[in-house]
């Protein structure tokens, strides 16, 4: 049973595209699912850049909806992961180039071919948002621990409910456990209190995301990235597995741990700084 998931947020810059790229890659790489990522951000396309596929674009989403090419011609197969495809957005058009009806039709066509259709929604609540959600069955709402991002996420939940979406899932991105501990950042509970929707996962702030985004290599494939680990967990939850949340507090290594590490008796954790992450 194939699923069409829309990744949305309201506010820009919270990590929708990064999330789409990582979940897409995770489902294809670890779960051997046939996945297509659709960039619905017409005029401001990014997903191709994040995936490192920019130079392979020949046709785009608008060409498909306007019948200028066949769907298969516009789909770009990922260079590393064979089950992963990208349908890029047009860069020279704008959001009005497609209608919600066209998007719905497009999603239904993709549904026949793929296990997962992931739609990267543009920021905002206008035409682009309406297009992106038109063909989707479920929604993942991305937010960061900022009041403005949570406010916008709340608005999106309201709009999704009004469009008949049941139980959108929440993905909290770029959380910094140290700041939460100091009381300088909203905690997971603070956000869930306001949004009152089910939590899909929490992705900690990680410098490696910047690097992987610039290189066009999703962090989910990087075993040493903690954001990548979070995305791997999220991938498993989307597949219906019960995966507990990562422990976000960094645990100081004990004296004995340090001693063991000194003698090479205990491997340091993947992160390499003594932090303990439970999966």
């Amino acid at each position: 049973m194939s699923q069409v998931l829309v990744i949305t947020s309201g506010k820009g810059g919270v990590g929708k595209t990064t999330t789409t790229a990582n979940i897409g890659t995770g489902l294809a790489l670890y779960k051997q699912r046939k996945v297509v990522m659709v960039d619905a951000d017409i005029g401001l396309r990014n997903l191709d850049v994040v995936m490192g596929l920019e130079n392979r674009i020949v046709y785009d989403l608008v060409d498909v909806t306007h019948g200028l090419c066949r769907l298969k011609q516009a789909l770009i197969r990922d260079k590393r992961f064979e089950n992963l495809y990208l349908l890029p957005a047009a860069q020279t058009k704008d959001k009005t180039a497609v209608t919600p009806e066209q998007m719905e039709k497009l999603c239904d066509e993709l549904r026949k071919e793929f296990d997962y259709v992931l739609i990267d929604c543009p920021a905002g609540i206008e035409q682009g948002f309406k297009n992106a959600i038109a063909g989707a069955d479920k929604a993942i709402i991305v937010t960061t621990p900022e009041v403005s991002a949570v406010r916008d996420a709340d608005r999106i939940v309201g709009l999704l409910e009004a469009s008949g979406f049941e139980e959108p899932k929440l993905l909290i991105n770029r959380i910094r456990p140290d700041m939460v501990k100091r009381g300088d950042m909203m905690s997971i509970d603070d956000m869930i209190d306001i949004l009152a929707i089910e939590l899909l996962g929490v992705v900690p702030e990680d410098e490696k995301i910047v690097v992987s985004t610039n290189r066009g290599e999703p962090a989910v494939a990087d075993e040493s990235s903690r954001a990548g680990q979070a995305y791997r967990n999220i991938t498993r939850r989307i597949e219906g597995e019960e995966v507990p949340l990562m422990t976000l507090e960094e645990v100081e290594p004990t004296f004995m741990d340090k001693l063991r590490m000194l003698f090479g008796l205990k491997n340091r954790t993947a992160k390499g700084d003594g932090a303990k992450w439970t999966f």
């Binding site: 609540i125 709340d154 608005r155």
Partner: protein, 215 residues
């Protein structure tokens, strides 16, 4: 068989007319008229009581009935509550019950009392001509008594609004961060300022007196 709008029963002290108030009064009156006409001699001179089911008779209708009975030499016995209804009409205000969270960008406007079983999130607005009761956290903007009712109140399980308005008075919480109370609170107008009191300290009699004074 269609339901008779009127049943007439004989009791020890006269007859009782039981009116099933489904249709209009004319039909009721005609039915009573036919009954009385068919038993003119039997009814004459007696006393009658009136009971009304499913509604009540207005003063005018009551007088018409009295007049009708008078034509047959019958008297209508005054009863303490000939018009059986539960709430006096003028106090009945419509209530809107919402069983969901009101989210950012959503606005609820209603010309009565609004009761919300859920949260009112920041960025949303609830405007009511009557009272506002939130069985959850009120974090958005709430405006009670929007058409000028200064007796309107805003009550919430957790009262943490971005802004509160009652009738024409606007207030906002203090800028400096402070401990949020972990108990239900009620906001109302006292001498043209909005005051917030813990729900359990509230003297509802004083509010009631105030409301009656206004009406």
């Amino acid at each position: 068989m269609a339901l008779d709008p009127v049943v007439i029963k004989g009791t020890r002290d006269g007859i009782t007319i039981i009116i099933e108030r489904y249709g209009d009064f004319e039909r009721v009156k005609n039915f009573i008229y036919e009954k009385l006409e068919s038993g003119k001699d039997f009814f004459a001179g007696g006393t009658a009581r009136v009971k009304v089911k499913n509604g009540f008779l207005s003063d005018e209708e009551y007088m018409k009935l009295e007049q009708l009975l008078k034509n047959y030499n019958m008297s209508l016995k005054k009863q303490p509550y000939p018009r059986s209804y539960i709430f006096p009409e003028q106090y009945r205000s419509p209530i809107l019950l919402l069983k969901r969270t009101i989210r950012s960008g959503q606005k609820i406007s209603y010309k009565g009392t609004v009761v919300i079983l859920g949260d009112v999130n920041p960025g949303s607005e609830v405007v009511a001509c009557g009272d506002i009761l939130v069985m959850g956290v009120l974090r958005g903007m709430a405006h009670a008594g929007a058409d000028g009712d200064i007796s309107a109140i805003v009550a919430a399980f957790r009262l943490q609004p971005t802004q509160l308005r009652i009738a024409g008075v606007i207030s906002r919480p203090p800028e400096e961060k402070q401990e949020v109370p972990r108990f239900p609170e009620v906001a109302r107008l006292k001498d043209k300022t909005i005051v917030i009191e813990p729900y359990y300290q509230l003297n509802f009699n004083s509010i009631k007196r105030k409301q009656e004074g206004i009406k």
